[in-house]
Each structure stands twice: as structure tokens, then as C-alpha cells.
Symmetry: C2
Subunit: 349 residues, 2 copies
Amino acid sequence: MRKGCQPVAWHGDHVVIIDQTRLPGEEVYLKLDDYREVAAAIQELKIRGAPAIGIAGAYAVALGARRIKTAEPGRFRRELQDIIDAIAATRPTARNLFFALERMKKAAMPGHSPADIKQALVDEAVRIHEEEADATHHLSLFGAGLIGDGWTVLTHCNTGPLATSGFGTALGVIIAARDQGKLVKVLATETRPLLQGARLTTWECRQASIPVTLITDSMAGYFMRKREVNAVITGADRIAANGDTANKIGTYTLAVLARENRILFYIAAPTSTIDGSVKTGDAIPIEERNPREVTCIQGVPIAPEGVEAANPAFDVTPHRYITAIITEKGIIGKPFREGIKKQLEGDAR
Amino acid sequence: MRKGCQPVAWHGDHVVIIDQTRLPGEEVYLKLDDYREVAAAIQELKIRGAPAIGIAGAYAVALGARRIKTAEPGRFRRELQDIIDAIAATRPTARNLFFALERMKKAAMPGHSPADIKQALVDEAVRIHEEEADATHHLSLFGAGLIGDGWTVLTHCNTGPLATSGFGTALGVIIAARDQGKLVKVLATETRPLLQGARLTTWECRQASIPVTLITDSMAGYFMRKREVNAVITGADRIAANGDTANKIGTYTLAVLARENRILFYIAAPTSTIDGSVKTGDAIPIEERNPREVTCIQGVPIAPEGVEAANPAFDVTPHRYITAIITEKGIIGKPFREGIKKQLEGDAR
């Protein structure tokens, strides 16, 4: 990982996170030793990006378990479940959080002492972090092979090291392509309402010395129609069994524009983002956030006081718009249902 | 016109404009008696909206002519041409500005004295203002017939009285539908970079007592796919002879999304927006504005210092995405080339 991009780090009895809401203006690191602080940081997007949310959620469980005082196994498990439930309630859409919480729950093996379970939870959280970081590195290498020399790649939201506590998903693919010696330019959508593209993707591109041009979300179609975009790559918050993909609001629009202009449209995500239990995108819950994120920008009001606003944080891109899905196990082409099933079955073996 | 929405008013020897860059926070009126002040106000978007730019440009010529000191007809005409050229250089895309300047040039009849020409220019500017205001009222009435009771209409940028110094174009259609007793809701895109939707459309909807919900530009696709939009209506900055339409950046995207979701997509504009000399949208010049409008919002930086940004102010929607074009002469259906030709020939008679 490149310097200055570590969104969450484990320090034995606490985590240190970089407050992503303050970037790029300020690099503020927060030391959190209470799971409720971590849960609040997830809810407030101080930690964000589906893979990073999963990792932070796992550490939050480990931190929460440390504070449970009872030595009585039944009560310990009930208190642990309450902690897991509280962390699960922070953000409903990103699959990676639930993937991590399910693994943490399994790691709290029945029949063991609370002390042993506490240690097992720390070990499992560190393992999830390592595996997820590895996964984003591998998927980036697979994805880099799809990127041509001299290409301009359009990406949405932020999907680099900050979003993953690893190499990155969509931006990881771009960085890996550049590492392979390809000249790649990035067109970064600002990603309203919370401007992760303007604030974080431009910052990470600069850190990786990749040329980047910032555009508003409304300009993506203009550049696609002018044939100035070779491929669109985004991350994912949850992928259904048929390939339908929930991702940051605006992704569906980019996918429609890409198909209309015959431009490649890739999703890059670790398999921990795939939810095999969800048949299609229609069943993915979409988080509705505070309308003030729309009516104010960086605290400055942009609309008359009291105006009603909507704020769905994600949308679903039907699989028919997606060229391929890039995971750490390889590239899934159409039909997605079979490819996804194979990759998930690989997990189960 | 409803109170508080007059973007430009003639007062005999000066114009008073409302500074639209300060709305909705403050209602600041500016008294301008120098054509260079009016040109600067157009360039800085204190006056904006294609029809209002045309009207302000006409008054600017009248103000400029008043200041010409020479009584020598040849020199007077040369100085007048310099003034017209300076006003024409403010914004390259909106057809209405050139429409108004061509009319003003014709009004400066050869063979007349400078004094007579000065008066003729004032008269012509007032006439353009009145005719444009009438045109937006008539087109709004034609368009209202296309809107169903209980519909939710999505619109982009700002196209009400502020943009037209009249009734409005796209928003005029919505207001007229409501005046006909139809229940209409508006979904207003914020319209980055300069937030005319968030700042001005929500404000005008409130003044007209029309329920409005503000969304980011990236959310339009989400609501269209959910079937929560019955029609999309936007204004236009320049319409080519084949119906291709330049309008605020992001309009092309809305048109693609509308077609993908089988939603009606209308353009509403007076015939002064049609440029019969431009065969297709490819020949329409697209204004590229200062990248700081993208990297800063209301003066607050949203990206790392020095990040490169693009800022095309308009895009072109190919005519195949447009359901119909609404003008003051009626509704133009496909094929647009014939309908447009007929409406322009009506002018020439």
C-alpha cells in the first residue's frame, strides 16, 4: 500500500483510521478503541468503500468482544450478538460488511471460553483484512489485462486503497495497468452528493502519479459520446447471483451511457461483495441517506432552506449492461449466473 | 410574471437585473447602464438562460449605442458593430443571443441618423423582450397539453421566468400545466457545476407553489428506472435544423436514460433558439468554461489544489432521443427537419 492511504490499521487494542470526510483538505487520523466509535465512523463515512467497511466491521466486533466483562458463555454470546447487530445496522447495502460479520460470528466457536473467543475474533479480523487486501491485489492484476495502452478510463466514486484497505478495486485495476507500463488516463466523476471522486480519487491518482481529469457526473455522457473514453470501470457494493450490481448512485447511468456508446463497462470487486442469496438486484436494499447531503455541500447550503431532497446512496445496474465482472478469482463473462456460481462454489469447497 | 422573478427590466436609460449567482441566498438587484457591464453579467451568469441572454444582449446594444458620441454615420456604424461583436463574444452556444444581435443589427437602418438609430435600437430591444416573453407564454400553453394530471416531470437546469424574462420554457410548460388544474410534481436535478437546478428551479417552483424534490444529476437514472418519472422536459440553447439540441451539460444523459426507460423526452424553446443555418448538432460550438467552476462549489474547494478539470457547459442531444420540440408556434414531431423548416419559413413570410 502506498504511503498515506491506509484507511484502517489494527494496533492490538485499537484501530487507527484516516477520517475520509476531511480528505483531501486535512489528513486526520482517529484512534478508536470502542466498537461504537467504529460503527459511527462507518455510518458517517469516515471509513467508506465496501471492502474497507467489511474490514472495519470485523475489527469493530473484535473491539466490542474485548469489552464484554462476563465470563458466562451464554451471556457472552448474547452480548456479542448485540454488538454484531449494532454494527450490521450501520449501512444496509454493502455486502462486504455482512460477509465479514458472518465470518466473525462463525469464528466465535461454540464451546470455547470467552477469553479464547476474544482472541479468535482478533485473529479472524486480521485474517479478513489480509485476505481482502490480497483479493483486491489479485483482482487488480486480472483486471489490468483488460486495459489497453494509452486508454482513458472513466471511473466513479472512490475505489482505491482508501476504499479497500488494500490495493483497490476499479482504481486498483487502473493502478495495476499503469504498473504494467501502460499509459492510462483517468476521467474521475466527482460523485455527488459526497464527492468521493473529486476528493479521494483525484488524490489517490496523484499519489499513484496517474493523470486524472475531474468532471461532474453530468459530463460523463459528453465524453463518452465524443469517444474520449475507452472503458468504464466501477467497484460494487453488492452483486446479486445474476450479476445485477448495486454501486454508488450514478453507476446505472454510466452503464446505460456506456452501452449506448459501445464502450466497455466493467465491475471490479472481491467475491466478498457477491451475495449468492440475492437472486436479482431488485432484492438489494438501497440505503436512503440524510437529504442534507444533497441540499448542502461541505456544509454550505446550495438550495433554499427547507427544500425537499431525495438521497438514495446506491443504484442497481442490471447485468445486461455489464461487459464483465472482475474478481480475485478471475474475470466473469456472460452468462454471469454460471460464472458467479462457480466462483462462489470454489469458496465453499 | 410572478413577483421576484424578473431577471432583466428596461428603465429607459439602464437595465435592472437580479444577480442570479447570488440566488437563492440573496436577492441582489444591479443597475447597469454600460453595455460592458451587461456583457460581463452575461459572461458571469448573473443573467443566464438562453432567452434571457438574448433579451439582455439586445438591451446591451441599445445601451452601447446611447454612449456613441459621433454624429458621423459611417463611424457610428463601425462603433456599433464593435459593441455588437463584444456582446456576441460573451457566450458562444446559446442561439438566442445571436438571434437578438442579428435583429438589432437590422434595426440600425442604413441611411438614418445616429439619433434615429439609437431610438430604433431601444424600440427593437423592447420589442424583442415582449415577443420573447409572449413566445414563452405560448409555448408553455402548447406544452401543457402534453402533461398528464398527476405526473412527475423531471427537469434540468433552470428554465422558468428567471431564464427567460418571460413565462419560462420547460418550467413554463410545467407551470402552465399546473395553471390548467393538473397536479404536477417536479423532480429537479441540481445541475452541476453551477447548480441552477438546486438554486433557481427549486426557488421558482416554490414561488409557483409546485411541489419539487431536489436530486443530484446522478440520481435521475435511478428514478427513471423506478418508473417514478412520467416525462422529462428541458429547455435548449441551440437547436439545429435537424432537431439536434444543445442544452446544459447533462441533458444528453437524461435523454439517453429516458429512451432506455421509454419515458417521454421533450425540448421546450422559442423559435429564436432554432438555428436553421446549422445542419446538425455537430456544428454547434460548445462553450468550455473555467475549470474552477468544477473544482470549487460556491467558492469552497472540493478537490485537491491544482487538479485538472474539464468544464464543457453544454452537450448535444441527437434528435433521435427527442420525442417532440415545443415552440410558440406549436409542437414539432418527427421528422423534425420538416417541422422545423415549416416553423422557420413561417417567420420568413
